[in-house]
């Protein structure tokens, strides 16, 4: 079994000293620059976000989701049959997303593979592509189509399965499907399961991960481990009983330990983090344990703090390796 330091998802796009992205965005809004000029800035900022993650000591990075307006509408914006509505609070955070409105049958206009190709092209480390999952997309959308909720999840699953297939074609090795919404309604597990099966069938050689956050995964743990994915990732900040539960029940899959608090600026106590890792390590039969922040850190932390958090991820991973 190997230990790897990984980012969860997003990374902050601006800091006090570097506001290129914000300024370019404002210029795009006021039509002072064209979309292509803005994309050049997004390329630069993505490159820097990737470099910072590597500099912090991570083994697996993401593209920082710099191009994502938010975790929900980035996927939906790319769909026929879908419009983007007003702002809504993203779970219990202070961050707002634009709510998709489903008007009819959905289909993709473009692929995320383009974003993956750019990121992997500029990264010295393997890049994990993050995608918000079909259940969460459907749950956070306004459904004005003829399809009922189950059918809408199926449609999203189809779209995301195509995305995963394209990513495999582009050479992606790691894809993470985010499904935070399932923790709010565990009774919908069967709907999620059907969707995950569809995506899994398209994964080819990809190591497919399912990630939940902003809730306690313990009550659903026994069911989640049955899903056809390679890796399961959890937010430990909401789930005090999870380390003991995993230690007791074991895990045949790879495990992502979202153990560094991605929502608070307090720098995590490394000994405390390490103690949790050590407790879980012997129970994992999968090949890899990923140490990660508890959620994407791009929309919740200032960039300086986000960098320090990733350093803690890397340092505790290294220490845990030595204790193996």
């Amino acid at each position: 079994m190997e230990l790897k330091a990984a980012n969860n998802g997003s990374y902050p796009r601006i800091s006090d000293d570097d506001q290129r992205h914000r300024q370019a965005y404002a210029k795009l809004d006021s039509k002072e620059i064209a979309w292509d000029d803005f994309e050049k800035v997004q390329d630069e900022v993505t490159r820097d976000a990737i470099e910072e993650q590597a500099k912090a000591g991570l083994d697996i990075v993401t593209d920082g989701q710099i191009r994502w307006y938010d975790p929900v509408s980035h996927i939906a914006r790319n769909l026929e049959g879908c419009e983007i509505n007003g702002l809504l609070r993203f779970f219990d955070t202070n961050f707002y997303f634009r709510q998709p409105v489903i008007k009819g049958k959905i289909s993709r206009r473009d692929s995320l593979a383009k974003e993956y190709r750019f990121a992997s092209g500029v990264s010295s480390k393997p890049v994990k592509q993050v995608i918000t999952g079909p259940y969460t997309e459907a749950k956070l959308s306004i459904n004005n189509s003829k399809a009922d909720f189950r059918a809408l999840v199926d449609e999203f699953a189809k779209v995301i399965a195509q995305e995963v297939k394209d990513l495999a074609g582009a050479g992606a090795k790691f894809v993470q499907i985010d499904e935070p919404a399932i923790l709010k309604k565990p009774a919908d597990f069967a709907i999620l399961e059907k969707a995950v099966k569809k995506i899994s069938a398209a994964k080819g050689g990809i190591e497919l991960s399912l990630c939940t956050y902003f809730g306690d995964a313990a009550p659903l743990y026994k069911k989640l481990v049955t899903l056809p994915v390679d890796t399961l990732s959890f937010d430990f900040t909401y789930s005090p009983s999870l380390p003991d539960l995993i230690a007791e029940k074991g895990c045949e899959k790879n495990l992502g330990l979202g153990i560094i608090d991605g929502r608070n600026t307090r720098l995590d106590d490394k000994d405390n983090v390490l103690a949790k890792i050590v407790k879980i390590m012997p129970a994992v039969e999968g090949e890899t344990i990923y140490i990660m922040p508890s959620c994407g850190i791009g929309d919740y932390l200032p960039r300086g703090t986000a960098f320090k958090k990733l350093q803690i991820v890397a340092e505790t991973t290294e220490k845990a390796r030595q204790m193996k």
Partner: protein, 335 residues
């Protein structure tokens, strides 16, 4: 139902009292002045003068519409959490954090024991109350929302941070009541953020704020995942829940049918997220829907939430629709 409590406090409010949640739009001259002040091109005293002017205008406007319980409109406030954090001890400011799209803000960080430097809102409350004969709400942000919307590097747990906030907020509430405030609103928009924390410590924190203080307490809750916190939330030690009802198509009434709503309610009858000014008839219809499930003595009427994101014209339009609809239904109830 707290009609007797209101009477005891000397508040003779009509049936279906009309009020507002807290904020009103800042007039253009004040927005301009705030920008200048932020850029250090204006003195605080000059800004204050314009805040006073705008507050006077909103008080007159509320009076002319026949609003029964006034708010000051929050002309002096930016963010409801940062305002307190910036004026209390124990905080520092963070780097930039994204709010949505291309919007960023600085979120205060608790870095030490939180303490008040003295009453914060009291002088202003006294001044604004002196402008009107009608009762004026004292307004504070609640302990759970303060805790949830700040970074916390000092207190070991969320519970500890929340209860520490409660202590400081209680001090502010006591000062407001001592100054003569009879109606205190404690804003808790975040209360449903983590439903499991409601019984764990949010109810306790509210009790810590209000216990033994002789006032009529309102708590304002919006963005709520009410299905997870109702009816448990009725245990919060307040007299009146000010709820965003219209944005969700009055869905909450279904919950109230299942489990009776046992307190007073400030029933939001205009959606603050839309530029559309509701017709008098629509507002009337919403009040009538409320009265099918709730007793008239329980119900206050107001917009869903603070109106600061609307234009002045929209805000006044929405208040006017409330005023017309309430007066009509009042006449029927009194007949």
């Amino acid at each position: 139902m707290s009609r007797s409590k209101l009477k005891k406090l000397g508040l003779n409010l009509p049936i279906l009292p009309m009020t507002s949640v807290g904020s009103f739009p800042k007039p253009p001259y004040l927005l301009e002045a705030r920008k200048k002040f932020a850029a250090k091109q204006m003195k605080h005293a000059d800004l204050r003068e314009l805040e006073i002017r705008a507050t006077r205008e909103w008080i007159r406007k509320q009076e002319s519409l026949g609003i029964d319980v006034m708010v000051d409109g929050e002309m002096y406030r930016g963010d409801m959490v940062a305002y307190f954090a910036e004026n209390w001890e124990g905080f520092k400011t963070s780097g930039l954090v994204r709010s949505y799209g291309n919007r960023y803000y600085r979120k205060p960080i608790i870095v030490g024991e939180v303490k008040a430097k003295g009453p914060l809102t009291v002088d202003w409350w006294k001044f604004v109350q002196s402008l009107t004969e009608m009762p004026l709400k004292g307004m504070v942000t609640g302990p759970y929302t303060m805790m949830d919307w700040l970074f916390n590097e000092y207190y070991p747990t969320r519970r500890d941070a929340c209860l520490a906030m409660a202590k400081v907020i209680r001090g502010e509430v006591k000062s407001l009541v001592k100054a003569g405030a009879k109606i205190i609103q404690i804003d808790e928009p975040a209360i449903s953020a983590r439903p499991e924390e409601l019984p764990e410590f949010a109810i306790e924190a509210m009790k810590d704020v209000t216990k033994g203080i002789d006032a009529y307490f309102i708590t304002h809750i919006c963005y709520g995942a009410f299905e997870f916190i109702y009816p448990e939330m009725l245990k919060l030690s307040v007299d009146n829940f000010d709820l965003e009802m219209s944005n969700s198509g009055l869905d909450l009434l279904k919950l109230f049918k299942k489990h009776p709503f046992t307190k007073d309610i400030s029933f939001g009858v205009t959606d603050i997220h839309t530029h559309v000014i509701e017709s008098n008839e629509l507002v009337e219809q919403r009040i009538r829907s409320a009265l099918e499930v709730l007793k008239p003595e329980q119900v206050w009427v107001d917009p869903d939430c603070g109106l600061k994101t609307r234009t002045t014209e929209e805000a006044i339009g929405k208040l006017k629709a409330i005023s017309v609809a309430v007066k009509k239904i009042r006449r029927e109830l009194e007949a």
